[in-house]
């Protein structure tokens, strides 16, 4: 993993596997606090305390196809390498909130990557129901809501070539705009 957008795409799979009906991803950039913060909140099945702790162990996984589970250990390691913060709060039946904070100016802080491509890939995942992507820069925010997009499309598939191109550009342009034009 070499950018934030890939971590997000990977971590959302955990929410999907937890049968979440709503997944909310927020990337917040706060220059004043020198902070880049990622939050992933879902209303999936959640984990008890013991499972939460084990989930951070690379040799723990619930899948059966292989014996390692690297999604959470990777993001936790990324925050540690940048002297950032990592929090995993979960409760059974309620959901899980993951928060990863990076000092914006640390050399090991991952670049944002292609957030539009990640939001699009999540949107077309066949098991994703509700999904929101928020990008916040200081006082400005952009929110992408899959429900809204689907109701506008009214039956036209998200995987039409033209629709894909539009969505990717729509998200990217709005993120660029609140970031002041710096890609």
């Amino acid at each position: 993993m070499n950018d934030l957008s890939l971590y997000i795409l990977d971590l959302v799979e955990n929410s999907i596997n937890a049968h979440a009906s709503m997944i909310e991803v927020t990337v917040r950039e706060d220059q004043n606090k020198n902070l880049l913060e990622l939050t992933i909140r879902d209303n999936g099945m959640g984990m008890d305390e013991a499972t939460s702790a084990k989930a951070l162990d690379p040799f723990y996984t619930t899948r059966t196809t292989r014996r390692v589970g690297l999604g959470l250990p990777f993001i936790k390691m990324a925050t540690e390498e940048a002297l950032g913060t990592f929090r995993l709060e979960s409760s059974p039946g309620v959901g899980t909130v993951l928060t990863a904070g990076f000092p914006a100016d640390h050399i090991n802080t991952p670049p944002l990557g292609d957030l539009a491509a990640t939001a699009y890939a999540i949107s077309i995942h066949q098991e994703v129901k509700g999904f929101k992507y928020r990008h916040v820069v200081g006082q400005q925010a952009f929110e992408y809501d899959l429900d809204q997009v689907k109701s506008v499309l009214d039956g036209v598939s998200l995987t039409e070539g033209k629709v894909m191109k539009f969505i990717l550009e729509y998200i990217q342009e709005n993120i660029d705009s609140i970031r002041g034009g710096t890609p």
Binding site: L6, T65, R66, D114, T118, A121, S157, K162, N174
Partner: protein
Amino acid sequence: MKSLEDLKKLRDQSLKTMEMRYMNGGTRIQVGMGTCGIAAGARPVLNKFIEATSAHNLNNVVITQVGCQGECAFEPIVEVVEKDGTKTTYCKVSESMAEEIVEEHLINGKRLDKYMLSAIKR
């Protein structure tokens, strides 16, 4: 800057030419999007399949994302599942290979043996 109103316009304009895609009964392209697949570059490959199948007006193809199948070293892995259940597993798929798979396998019906997991994994 694009807005949802623009998406509405695109939708209304395109509806005439866009055929609704069948959600089942056709060919399924399954792209491995576990940690391993993502790290190996599956995301642009997924988008390339959408772009290419759409450009060729393949209405009977559904593209889905699947988790790790346990062959992490050979990601990005893409499975083509035909209507009759025949499954072809391609490995280390790049964007250009994705286009080739759409053109050769899906359109011309020729399986690309050289890209198959069974040929590459020895």
